[in-house]
Symmetry: C2
Subunit: 344 residues, 2 copies
């Protein structure tokens, strides 16, 4: 039995959507139990069935307006901090929140804590591809604004474990997001990372990949620095939603014929919306910390909450974090080898 | 009368599409005349009317496979190099090519030459927005892999002149592409750039903008480093085309009803495709060199070629490059002020 510490007060739809999603996940994943951190009276009223669900009363809430580091330091009895501490102390095996992103990442790094040998934890997001039921993951999508070659080398290795356990790929292909596919492309940082990935026999490196091509799945694990990865993720999300929105608008505003067509084309729109439904692939995972830490969108509904538990079930049953800990404890040269490049 | 030096052999559809687009532009823009650099016999056969069109025979062609710097150095009688040299020598007022991107940029920087006081030329791309007939521009989208704060400061100033002259905005709003909207966001580079833009009274700085939001036009001039800008541009282009492609596919594969719907919804698709038709906004402009240098997509058709000439007509009639030269000759402190940040 694995225990997930849930920040039941995090996100726009908390605590209702959180409780609803957790109860559905509890019914479907028999090896999971849940600690719901939050307002006792609200949670007591919402939880219909307490099988494998424990309410842990807390008195404070971290809001979207809170400055992350301050919130972690000062709101000691918040649902977010208490849930993170449960994962740190071993009272729980994972920490999940739909709350303040900065605060969740900060709690992950400072409270749950970095794995020994890991220079910087990275944030993973999972994307759909044009191939049905095939996904790829990208990291770091924003946990770190500044990057060094060693970080990205470790992201590649950690991303492989995640792709193996959660996407079910025995030998994930690793690509480096760069400004061209040729081996000599990029700035100093990405040229150094290319050499590190290319030289590592533990990495199935397929070379550089470009942001224009990601949906065609040139790689299963796309490695990037947190600044570029953040811009790329946001550009992809923003463009997909803008194009769908404009197309719908055009269909409705171009007279009767398109309006009828739109009604008839509805199933196609729905299929695409489902494909691009980031919620189904789960939340963003902070990897490189001592327990799985997952953050889902602030507007997560019960569905999104449910799929995060599915994702956590996969990570916990495969022992993804243990694999990372084990690998880096037996490969002390991995950050060291990269450290030589730090001076550049 | 302004003269445009055209690499008539550059691009997948050259020289036919180039000649066709140039002849249409010649008919519509009476203040432009053209020098077509390329294979004499082919061009003689293609050009229907030589009014304001001169054929300049060249014997070599730079291909997509050529390494840019080598090509510039060795293929001295290529249409690309000869056209760039015409703009350098004052035989022409601008240089246009749909050929090898790296070679066009290298020719722009090395042959046409940097404007005095400009640290690095930047590459501008123009984007549509969700507001009809409103566009924004972003630079640098890939002329420079490595960046320093001073470069981005100058990109902001140069981008303003372009937005004023070509987009017709009297007071363009400048935004900095960053990993969050708060003033303290970003890595060292972007924090320094924020300070420079915020402190410059000649810049109407609206603060940080995010890649998720660009199509809503939070800024008219989006300033970014060439590495992030390149990834963001490619992510936007790749996502837009993937979403449109998938939606079409879904419409056609989901049975008769959607297929009928698709036929009826065709006008809406067409309207969107036109909106996202990058060609209409012209090509990518290398700004910061002594004459306008424009590169359009390798697969440019006659339409794309035509719209580049429209864009050049706007730049040349407003004297955009002269404004940049004038500004930086009278503001010698602009790169110097930024230079202090270089040590970081």
């Amino acid at each position: 039995m694995k225990t997930i510490a849930v920040d039941a007060m995090g996100g726009d739809n908390a605590p209702q959507a959180i409780v609803e999603g957790i109860e559905r996940a509890r019914d479907d994943f028999p090896d999971l139990q849940f600690q719901l951190f939050g307002d006792e009276s609200q949670l007591k009223e919402l939880v219909k069935n307490t099988t494998r669900i424990t309410i842990v009363p807390t008195t404070e809430v971290v809001t979207g307006e809170d400055e992350p580091t301050k919130a972690i330091r000062r709101k000691k009895d918040s649902s977010l901090v208490r849930a993170a501490l449960a994962a740190k102390n071993g009272d729980a095996d994972a920490f999940y929140s739909a709350g303040n992103t900065g605060a969740v990442l900060t709690a992950g790094v400072l409270l749950v804590g970095r794995i020994k040998g890991i220079e910087r934890p990275g944030l993973i997001t999972i994307f759909p591809t044009v191939h049905k039921d095939q996904h790829f993951l990208m990291l770091d999508v924003g946990a770190n604004a500044e990057s060094k070659p060693a970080y990205l080398h470790q992201f590649a290795l950690m991303g492989q474990f995640y792709a193996r356990d959660v996407l079910g790929l025995s030998k994930p292909r690793v690509g480096l997001l760069n400004n061209g596919t040729e081996a000599d492309k990029g700035d100093t940082l990405h040229k150094s990372v290319y050499e590190l990935l290319d030289a590592d026999p533990d990495i199935d490196f397929v070379g550089n990949v470009e942001a224009s091509n990601l949906f065609n799945a040139p790689a299963d694990v796309v490695v990037t620095d947190g600044f570029t990865g953040n811009a790329t993720l946001k550009a992809m999300e923003g463009t997909a939603s803008t194009v769908m929105h404009l197309l719908k608008q055009n269909l409705l505003n171009n007279g009767l014929l398109p309006k009828l067509g739109a009604a008839m084309a509805k199933p196609a729109f729905k299929a695409l919306a489902e494909m691009f439904d980031a919620d189904r692939a789960g939340g963003a995972v902070l990897i490189g910390v001592k327990a799985p830490v997952v953050k889902s969108h602030g507007n997560s509904d019960a569905d999104a909450v449910y799929y995060v538990q599915k994702q956590l079930d996969a990570m916990l049953s495969h022992g993804t974090v243990q694999s990372v800990i084990q690998y880096f404890s037996t490969h002390p040269e991995k950050p060291a080898a990269a450290a030589a490049h730090k001076e550049e």
